[in-house]
C-alpha cells in the first residue's frame, strides 16, 4: 500500500453534491480509509481449483473388500486371540486431541493409543463429544490419511448422546500416515463423499 494518503472526499467526487448524499458518501469514505487494501490475487489463485478436492471416497468396491478383510482380521484378533482391546486394562501410551472441522465445530475427541503387542497390534480408543447422532444406518468412520487421501480404516462407530467411546486394534505403523480423520457416512448418500468431521495430525 502506498504511504500517500487519498485525497479528501470533496476532491475525489467533485463539487455540487447534495449534502444528504455527501453525508452518506462520507461514511463510506471513512470506512475505506479504515480498512487495509484488499490484496490482489496471485496467478495461482486467479480461479478456484478446477476440481475442488473432496475427501477421498471411502467405500469404493476395492476398499470395501479391503475393509471387510481387515474387519475379519480384527474379529479374529479380538475374539480368537484375546487381545487387550476394551475393558479396564487399557494402557495408554499417547493421547492425540482431534479438532472438529467446520462441519462440526463443537465436536472434539481424543484418540488414546496403547503400546503395540508382540504381534504389532496397537489398541486404539476414541473418546468423542459433540458428535450428532446420524440417521438410522449411518455411522462414523475413523481412518488414517496419507498425502490427503484415504489410506486405512481403523473402525466404525455410532453415536447416541453425550460422550462416545469406541475401541479397536490396528496394526498400522502410524509413522507412515499424516493424519487421523473421522468422517460420517449417511445411508442413501452413497454417491456423495463423506464429510470430514474430526481431524488430527500425526506427528512423531
Amino acid at each position: 500500500m502506498s504511504e500517500r494518503r487519498p485525497a479528501d472526499l470533496n476532491e475525489l467526487v467533485g463539487d455540487g453534491i447534495p449534502e444528504a448524499e455527501l453525508a452518506e458518501l462520507r461514511r463510506v469514505d471513512a470506512l475505506l480509509r479504515t480498512v487495509p487494501a484488499p490484496p490482489e490475487l496471485p496467478d495461482n489463485l486467479s480461479a478456484p481449483v478446477r476440481e475442488a478436492p473432496r475427501p477421498a471416497r471411502l467405500w469404493t468396491p476395492r476398499r470395501a473388500l479391503a475393509a471387510v478383510a481387515f474387519a475379519a482380521v480384527l474379529s479374529a484378533l479380538f475374539f480368537g486371540l484375546g487381545t487387550r482391546v476394551g475393558g479396564d486394562g487399557f494402557s495408554e501410551r499417547y493421547a492425540v486431541p482431534m479438532q472438529g472441522t467446520f462441519e462440526a465445530p463443537a465436536a472434539s475427541a481424543v484418540i488414546r493409543l496403547g503400546d503395540p503387542d508382540a504381534d504389532g497390534n496397537r489398541p486404539v480408543r476414541l473418546e468423542a463429544t459433540g458428535l450428532e447422532p446420524l440417521p438410522d444406518g449411518g455411522y462414523y468412520v475413523l481412518w488414517l490419511e496419507k498425502d490427503d487421501e484415504y489410506a486405512g480404516t481403523c473402525g466404525t462407530f455410532a453415536v447416541a448422546e453425550g460422550e462416545t467411546r469406541a475401541e479397536w486394534t490396528v496394526s498400522y505403523n502410524l509413522a507412515d500416515y499424516d493424519a487421523w480423520v473421522v468422517s460420517a457416512r449417511v445411508p442413501g448418500d452413497e454417491a456423495a463423499d463423506a464429510p470430514r468431521i474430526l481431524e488430527a495430525e500425526i506427528s512423531f
Binding site: 467526487v13 458518501l25 469514505d29 480498512v35 464429510p195 495430525e201
Partner: protein, 184 residues
C-alpha cells in the same frame, strides 16, 4: 437497503446452488470472496504462501460444506466469514514456524475485540467492493490505496478527470447501499 438485501439473497442462493454441485455458482462465490478471504488470511497468518494455502482450503471447505448452510441461521456473508476463519485457524495450527513476513503491524496495536471488529469490517468492505462494476471498483481502489492522485488515476486509466470523479461518486454511493448493515 434493497441493494444489501439483494446482495445477501444472492450470496445465499449461490451457496445453496454450490451445495447442489453447481460449479458456476461456486466460481461466482470465488470471484466475490477470494480477495476478502486472502486479505483476512494474510492479516491472520502474516505469510503470503500460507495465506494462499488457507484461501484454497477455504474454498475447498465451502465446496464441501455448502450443503450444510442454513439461511435461517444467519447471513451468507457471516457463514462464509466463519468458514474462512476456521480454515485460517486450521492453517495457523498446522505448523509453527517463523512467518516469512511480519503480520500486519497495525493489528498488533489493538485489542482482540477491535481486531475482530476490524477483520469483520474489512471482510464486508472488501466483499462489497467485489460487487461493484469493475470500472467503479478500479477507481476506488486506486483512489484509496494506490497513492495516486485523481489526475494520475485519470492518466493511468486513460479517461477524463471528470469521469474518474463520476465513477468514484457512483462507486461510493453503490457501496453505501451494500454496506448499509455495517454502518448501522
Amino acid at each position: 437497503m434493497a441493494l444489501l438485501a439483494m446482495a445477501t439473497e444472492d450470496d445465499a442462493a449461490l451457496i445453496q446452488r454450490t451445495g447442489l454441485g453447481d460449479r458456476d455458482a461456486f466460481e461466482e462465490l470465488y470471484r466475490r470472496f477470494a480477495r476478502p478471504v486472502l486479505g483476512m488470511a494474510i492479516r491472520q497468518l502474516g505469510d503470503n504462501g500460507r495465506a494462499e494455502d488457507a484461501t484454497q482450503e477455504t474454498f475447498t471447505a465451502i465446496w464441501r460444506s455448502a450443503r450444510s448452510y442454513k439461511p435461517e441461521r444467519g447471513s451468507a456473508s457471516a457463514w462464509l466469514y466463519a468458514v474462512a476463519r476456521h480454515a485460517i485457524i486450521d492453517r495457523a495450527r498446522q505448523r509453527v514456524e517463523p512467518a516469512a513476513e511480519a503480520p500486519d503491524e497495525a493489528s498488533r496495536d489493538i485489542g482482540p475485540d477491535e481486531h475482530a471488529e476490524l477483520s469483520w469490517l474489512a471482510w464486508r468492505v472488501h466483499s462489497a467492493l467485489q460487487r461493484l462494476p469493475e470500472r467503479e471498483r478500479a477507481v476506488l481502489e486506486l483512489a484509496y490505496w494506490s497513492g495516486l492522485s485523481q489526475s494520475e488515476i485519470a492518466s493511468y486509466l486513460d479517461v477524463p478527470l471528470g469521469t474518474v470523479k463520476t465513477r468514484t461518486r457512483a462507486g461510493l454511493a453503490r457501496l453505501a447501499g451494500l454496506l448499509e448493515e455495517v454502518r448501522r
